[in-house]
Symmetry: C2
Subunit: 126 residues, 2 copies
Amino acid sequence: MQEQPRITEAEWEVMRVIWEQEPVTARDIVDALEPVKEWSEPTVKTLLNRLVRKGVLEFSVEGKRYRYSARFSRESCVRAEGLSFVDRVFDGSTTPLLAHFLKESKLSERDIRELKKLLRDKEADR
Amino acid sequence: MQEQPRITEAEWEVMRVIWEQEPVTARDIVDALEPVKEWSEPTVKTLLNRLVRKGVLEFSVEGKRYRYSARFSRESCVRAEGLSFVDRVFDGSTTPLLAHFLKESKLSERDIRELKKLLRDKEADR
DNA sequence: CCCTTCTGATTACAGACGTAATCATAACTA
DNA sequence: TAGTTATGATTACGTCTGTAATCAGAAGGG
């Protein structure tokens, strides 16, 4: 499998829609982004083109239009981006990162329960 | 206080050194980065210049050289970068982010204890 | 059959970025 | 005092990014 290409900030916006609705037409993407970003249609098309050229997206031809889908799972892209982030900002160590976001965030009762459970699981398989 | 400018990937490398040793000369930075990055001296100087122009760094003149220091704390830059990251990749919600990094990371006994404590604190002040 | 329209492709373009060579100037050394 | 050296400034330059206008071809409407 190919090296994970970098996804830029604007491209993430497009990918979000794709992962939610793939395989999806350019039209659908433009519509889905309409309320969120003030992008002209050509702008979205350009992003799609770049993502295809980078190998992040593929498409199947359907009549005169394309249906785009991702060649990498969201999970794998999240993992790559997460690694780059923790390297850049936390010097590669996850614990300070966790501590940071724990402090920053407001968590619901349920969130806390879930995270506690994850911690317990973590403890279990050591 | 001024808007937090964006810090690029290469710039973070420089900032790491600055926050550790500020106020610091260009020479020190070049030396500190020597083992880590294969950057020529002019490259580092350029990054310093850009950071100054962006308002992230300031310097005091000391004889023929400058001593650089940060105009923003590491914490505040980490916070800004963290916000941008959680928005981009986790659609703004911290809990999935925490879950993700919890699963990804291998934690020591001590790490787990620390995180549990943070969770308890979180619970306390709800 | 011609005109509009939809859709992807091509081109554009300014600013950011990574990386660095070169320049000017002051200081140090022989 | 002239040449070397250290240091910041200026210039360079290809690529990436964000944002978009324009183009070409196909398809549908009259």
